[in-house]
Every structure is written in C-alpha cells, then in structure tokens.
C-alpha cells in the first residue's frame, strides 16, 4: 500500500518526467513486500504465536481456547490475514477450503472472517484428546492459527492456572500459550501426579521436575517449545488435561 501511495505521489508531481518514471517502474515494482521470511522460518521448525481470534459458542479468545463438552459447536474465527486457504484439522479430519478469501477489485485485502459448525465424530473426536487446529493462510505468505481443546468425559479435575501472567480457572481441560521458556504455574486443590510422556517427546515436553515442594499441588514450569499435552492424575484416577503451546516468535502484521 505504501509503495502504491509513494508512486502515485511521484507520478502526480512529475507528469512530464514520464520516461524516467517508466524506467524506474520495474525497480519499484520489484521491491514487492513478501512474507517469505515467515515461511522459511516456519519450515525450519520455528513456532509462531497463534493469534487468530476464535469464538466457540460466543466465548472468544485469541490463539487457544477450551470448549465445554457439547454435541456441536458454532465456531467463528477472525484471522489476521485474508482467508486464501483455510484449514481445519482434528485427529480424525482435515477440511480445507480456498473459497473464503472474498478478494475483489474493491476489496483487495479480502475477507478475514469465517463461520462454521463443528460436530465431533462420536467415538473418535469426542473422546480423549482430539484438539482442533485452525489455520488461515494468505497468498502473501502470512498465516494465523488457533487451537481448540475440547473437554472430554474423563477430565474433571479443576485447576488454577497462571498462564502468560494471567490467572484463569479451568475445569477438566486447560490450554495455555506463551513464549517458550517463560514460567507458568498450575495449582490443584488435591495432590496430583503427572503422566509419563512418550519416549519421543520426553526431552521436549518435560515438566516432571516442576512440582514445587513435592506435594503434588503446585507445578511451576518453563513453557516447553511447540505443542504438548500433559495428564495430571489425582488419587482417585480423575484426570486433568493441560495443553500447552510455547512459541519462538510472533508475526508482525501490517496495518
């Protein structure tokens, strides 16, 4: 937008220097502002902050949200970029669509909002952990994303969470996003133990030594990189599921 404004001003100020401008035009145009750097960083394994605003049944949050157990969900999203490619993924489905950008001559930046209805497949998507990942990508290389964690029947241990510096209370499932390495805190009313991570995730998703005081009530940990899930068990076998996402970087948006 800036380069267009810049060139328009020059053109109107210098109508008789058309030949010079014509010569300069390809060079100005070649300074096209792209987001290849974001794509390259993503490809190299860098994690970006999930900054899509997602509303599940009128409850909204940015990046990560926990949805109570229901038969179906109204999902409204507001991406931070045009919806040239929309991807909705769970543990059992991937829905993609390229019809929502709404780009036109009068609206070159396109549409960034989208509404959908999600009905979890019984026995697959409504049991255990099957979060939904929502991704919106624009032709210019930017993307915004969100994660929805769903409550499931076995999760019923409440928790107080200080996530990214904000205090929040969750029932059986919690979700937290913060920069990787920052300190987070979860507190339980009754002592809990933490589940054992699969061998391939032991080094990355490790908060085992975070139990403050060893009483199983207070867990202070450094946010692990990427996505992790942790199961906490009380003495009766009740479970709390904590989904975390530690990012390395944010995407700076143009106005």
């Amino acid at each position: 937008m800036n380069r267009l404004l810049f060139r328009t001003i020059i053109l109107f100020l210098m109508p008789y220097k058309a030949a010079i401008i014509l010569l300069l035009m390809p060079f100005i145009a070649s300074c096209s502002h792209t987001r290849l750097d974001v794509l390259q960083a993503e490809r190299s394994g860098k994690f970006f902050k999930k900054d899509m605003v997602v509303c599940v049944d009128e409850v909204c949050d940015e990046g990560m949200i926990v949805a109570p157990r229901r038969k179906g969900y109204d999902i409204n999203i507001e991406a931070k970029n045009a919806l040239d490619l929309f991807v909705f993924t769970t543990c059992a489905r991937e829905e993609t669509s390229q019809k929502h950008s709404g780009r036109s001559f009068f609206r070159p930046d396109g549409n960034s909002r989208f509404k959908t209805y999600f009905k979890p497949a019984g026995g697959v998507e409504d049991v255990f952990s099957c979060p939904a990942h929502i991704e919106a990508r624009s032709k210019k290389g930017t993307h915004s994303a969100a994660l929805i964690a769903f409550e499931t029947p076995e999760t019923n241990v409440p928790v107080k969470f200080i996530c990214n510096g904000k205090r929040d209370y969750f029932n059986g499932v919690s979700a937290c996003q913060s920069r990787a390495g920052l300190t987070q805190l979860v507190s339980f009313k009754r002592p809990v133990t933490i589940g054992m991570q699969p061998p391939h995730l032991k080094s990355r998703c490790d908060v085992n030594d975070s139990n403050d005081g060893g009483d199983g009530l207070r867990w202070e940990f450094k946010m692990p990189r990427g996505e992790c899930v942790f199961a906490f068990f009380d003495a009766d076998g009740n479970v709390h599921r904590m989904v975390t996402y530690g990012y390395d970087s944010i995407i700076i948006r143009e106005d």
């Binding site: 792209t34 993503e42 990942h133």
Partner: protein
C-alpha cells in the same frame, strides 16, 4: 490532444504500476503457495500427535496403577 495526453499520463502510469504490482505479487504468491505443501503436510498430524501422547499417558498411568494390585494377588 497533447495536453490531454499529458493530463491522462499520470493516470495511465498509475494503472500500469498497479498492473506490474499485481503481476509481481502473483508470481510471489504462486511460489509461496507451492512452498506451503510441506508445511501443511507437517501440520496435518499435530492433533493426532497430541491425541496419541495423551492416550499414552493414560495408558501408562493405568498400567502403573494396576501393577501393585497384580503383585498383591500373586
């Protein structure tokens, strides 16, 4: 005629500039979309990875819990 051309020249050049921009953007966009495939392939299994990890933890806990009971019964 000449003055009309001079008057319209900035407008013509402006549209020409927009055309060039669009062309350049489309070229870049096409490259980027082709490059997206590997990222989407990688991202496609994130949910199932979390699901597997969670199931593993539940399973390990169940095994751990049932282990002493088995010993006692023996």
């Amino acid at each position: 005629m000449g003055s009309l051309f001079n008057l319209l020249l900035p407008v013509i050049l402006k549209f020409l500039g927009i055309g060039i921009d669009k062309y350049v953007d489309n070229e870049e966009a096409e490259k980027q979309f082709l490059g997206l495939v590997d990222i989407l392939e990688k991202n496609g299994l994130r949910s199932v990875n979390l699901s597997d990890s969670y199931r593993y933890q539940l399973e390990q806990h169940r095994k751990k819990k049932s282990a002493p009971t088995t010993k006692e019964s023996q």
